[in-house]
Symmetry: C2
Subunit: 491 residues, 2 copies
Amino acid sequence: MLDDVLMKYPDPDVDYGKLISPFQAEIGHLQREILDLNIPVMIIIEGWDASGISDICNKLIRYLDPRSYRLYPVGRPKESEAEMPFLWRFALAAPEEGKFAIFDRAWYSRMIVENKENLKDVFRIKVEDIKAFERHFCDDGGVLIKIFLHISHKEQKKRFKEADSDPCRSFYLKNVDWNPKKEYPEYFSVIDEILFRTNTPNSPWEVIPAENLDYAVYRVYDTVINRLKAAVSDKLKGVETICHECPILSSGYCLPEPHAPRVLDRKEYKTKKKELGKRLSELQVELYRNKIPLVILYEGWDASGKGGAITRFTRYLNPRGYRIEPIGPPDVKEKKMGYLWRFYKRLPRPGRIVIFDRTWYGRVLVERVEGLCSDYDWKRAYTEITEFEHFIDEWGGVIVKFWIHISNEEQLDRFRAREADPDKVWKITPEDWRNREKWDQYEEAVCDMISLTHTPCCPWTIVSGNDKYSARIQTFEAVIAAVEKKLNLFK
Amino acid sequence: MLDDVLMKYPDPDVDYGKLISPFQAEIGHLQREILDLNIPVMIIIEGWDASGISDICNKLIRYLDPRSYRLYPVGRPKESEAEMPFLWRFALAAPEEGKFAIFDRAWYSRMIVENKENLKDVFRIKVEDIKAFERHFCDDGGVLIKIFLHISHKEQKKRFKEADSDPCRSFYLKNVDWNPKKEYPEYFSVIDEILFRTNTPNSPWEVIPAENLDYAVYRVYDTVINRLKAAVSDKLKGVETICHECPILSSGYCLPEPHAPRVLDRKEYKTKKKELGKRLSELQVELYRNKIPLVILYEGWDASGKGGAITRFTRYLNPRGYRIEPIGPPDVKEKKMGYLWRFYKRLPRPGRIVIFDRTWYGRVLVERVEGLCSDYDWKRAYTEITEFEHFIDEWGGVIVKFWIHISNEEQLDRFRAREADPDKVWKITPEDWRNREKWDQYEEAVCDMISLTHTPCCPWTIVSGNDKYSARIQTFEAVIAAVEKKLNLFK
């Protein structure tokens, strides 16, 4: 895609500086439409060193209302970013509905710079992650505009030479991560292949010759304005830009009977719990030492005992290293973001434990059953979720997923017991009773969820929950087994 | 305060473990009341190493709904925290209204550990900052509960010895920042003095003997429950816990005439701007090199040209190093926090520039005039704001504050011009006209603001704004002067 043959160069007879001026009013107008229509927009400006990325970013934001954009200069990750999954910091920087996130360099530059040593091996895997990440954003209604500023090796060398006499320019250019004088030819083919592989229908690349600044600015504005106009027009017409196939839902999976393998009496339970708890305390230290993040997901029927199981579990942990994240309806800010955003935000640092009480599976459970998102949204979520979990797995994390299963009759007994207890009556709401009426719909959703997201790296554990003591012990054992399995890889 | 004479020790005849059990329901109940009444609560647990801080935190959170608290284990700051003002990470961790923030160690431990070398010189200054920070929270309706877990040197040595045979315990204890075996006597008097000096009426210390864990847990719960009960009762009765005097507002300060010292023609302006712009580009590099953060505040009448001045200014900056922060009404989350929270969050990193288009002075301008906060709120804000700016100054930041002043007639002309221009008509709203009617009230507020917050470290620059060209040049010059002054200190 960097080949000269494919490029349209400036017409020497045109004054591009003049062509730019009407863009000022146009981009301001479009920006207000984008805001009204709640469309999130990401613009990434990549390019060769000294291709003028910063200049162009500064000109691009000049006529945008500062309330509606955020510019991210992407350099070396901070310590707190470097320890997280590669795409994490970009996922957090995604724009709200109606807003712009503009990246002065983005995940492409970072993928290259951070994997210089074995780039050819790495990038084919990473490129798949990047494509998944971009697809999540676009399928959710986002507009992703990707621009690459192209200059020749000769021009690049000339610019570096000129910068030597300008202390400001040379300061910024000296801060780059590799030696561009030597490495241009080496990277040319790699970048070309990356651009080619990530040139998807929903987020195509625009390669812009940047040897003439006015022309480059003109082309950037032209690209951005055309993409925004198309997005506004599609949204007004109600065009859904479906580009991703949904999996077929006919798994035939059925939940097992929720009776405990063995009902435990109080004494057996206490003894067992203490013994496993001691092991958990030890494993927490091992996770910390080996910098392994642990994510535990608790899903299950209402009143299946998620909260109780979590409280028993955390008793054995040091509070400096774990956090419970109860997941309710998204807040105002979260509603304006992709549904995975709030989970990216809550991931543990390496060596820490995060316990989710309800999880991202809400997308295919409550949001599906209650119609809180479109069919298209929840149907493609199975793939999105497995990809998201794959990011965590690749990063070195352990994921343990519980479905705590109780029978319909057991739930009824527990609801009634809660209503009769003055200290627990606040736990039961009319909503719980309404959900209960939809048991069959939920059961179908649960079966689909388990069969479609039970992956080798992140399998489900179905906990037989009718006996609370036994259920808690099952969760302890499953976490211990998963962590020990991971730690064995380190030996 | 650590003296034995002042301490109440456990009664050997009492089973404190048993006394704890009714607390479970009580704390759950109080927590729901706190949520209903929108009271933010901070609990900090400090104490000697091996005094059982983590154990106690884990027991304290056990019966709290995880939706309503967040536990902060406070250790060495991350790179991204260490470069910011000392109290910054704690300010960001403050709880929302109705929520709990629990600190497993807090700013006291960090002040001591981070200033070990010259503690005696440092802590008297830092203690004043801490008191200001705590006062801001309490005056705003927050409940701050400060607990210190006290054990004797003998007990501490015993615990360290015992931990040697327990790999989990010894792991956590080995992670501490100083050698507790030797340093207990040395720190005793320092900690004693710090506790004494920060034992304020609104946030008193509770020193709890922690040699017997059950007793310590009992006392912690008892303290927390009593403080929460008192807060709930005060709030229901409408008691305002005013503990801070408000400054007297009778400065007699008057705004000068907003005519430019010299009206510039377009050519003079362009020449001057280019020359100053070049200097700005250079200074941005110097700020970056010297890791100095720069905060520029633009306040001024509606249509005084803040936005235009900012756009001209940023043209000369590299977008990797600056950010414009337009300040409108707080969002849902921000409304639940103290009014300074969103500004802490937006401070620049060292070496970066943040430009605020409207600022924290909204508290004493729009919030005062429109009655969006109580008299008590805005009257004490002058002190709070100067203290906040003092934090930034102490940290090494440069603050430049502009009031862009135009005459009443000039504003009218500009409003009319905007209404007549189809590309600018969206900029003018009925609210602007309503504000204009309150010109006199705003003028009074502006005069009070300038006279009460014009401090040696953060003085105001009054920009004569009737001539736009001249106004912009004045802002360029003021920023350059302030930055050069700061840089001279480094030579």
